[in-house]
Symmetry: C2
Subunit: 128 residues, 2 copies
DNA sequence: CGGCATCCCACTGGATACTG
DNA sequence: CAGTATCCAGTGGGATGCCG
């Protein structure tokens, strides 16, 4: 509003990274690109729960941060590919560590929220 | 509200971790606890930009996830300490990697946002 | 295929004040 | 010191639809 929101403390390295990876699907997107899913349509297919618009917003942000770069191949239909920059490659290990940790601890974490009155009736939600 | 929001795709490990570390200050808080900042008041002092209430909310969430545990020492004034659980210890490397990456790349990233019309008048905001 | 433009609401998190 | 209750603004991100 006034000046600019600048910021939450960026002295702390954690916050910088948190900001870069912040946003519901950014880490996931990077993971995908890291695995070779470069074309938008493929990314969308890889993360169907994320609306294309949102993925695009994240992509633009990542681009601004210099994490990925976009390559456009003229022609029709249009072809686009996103690549990790050197910076992007450098953050990838973190994303991969997140993937590993998440997979290893999926069962250990109670992500299904507070459960109003204890007794988590279901630790194996279908999650569609 | 209704059922519960459950979720965004948790098949992907990345999303699980992203959820655990999600929230403006969670990673930062974990980093602090990992460094030995166990008492609430100290945490608040370590992250002055974060309202105490918010830090508390995050702490509760982390507790629910089983990342940290809370120890209360009766007496007056009340004394409380938060510790990393085994699960918490296991995620710490990621947080530390984030800290390292952030510090190493602080200069390389354009976090100050799009900059409406270039020329960031002030790169050294007082931040209150 | 790739990507804006709109519309809109749930949720996050900031300020403040109060209780144990 | 530790933590909760209120109140409220900003915004992230979901749904839809249109354009190149």
């Amino acid at each position: 509003m006034y000046e600019r929101k600048i910021p939450e403390n960026l002295e702390c390295g954690v916050n910088i990274t948190a900001k870069v990876l912040g946003g519901k699907w950014k880490a996931c997107i990077l993971h995908g690109i890291g695995l070779g899913t470069r074309r938008p349509a493929d990314l969308h297919r890889a993360i169907p729960e994320a609306p294309a618009r949102v993925v695009n917003l994240h992509l633009r942000e990542l681009e601004e941060y210099g994490i990925i770069c976009k390559k456009i191949y003229p022609g029709f239909p249009l072809k686009v590919e996103y690549f990790l920059t050197a910076l992007g490659e450098s953050i990838l290990p973190i994303v991969e560590a997140m993937d590993r940790w998440g997979n290893e601890n999926r069962a250990a974490i109670n992500l299904v929220s507070p459960a109003p009155m204890e007794a988590n009736q279901d630790l194996m939600p279908e999650m569609r």
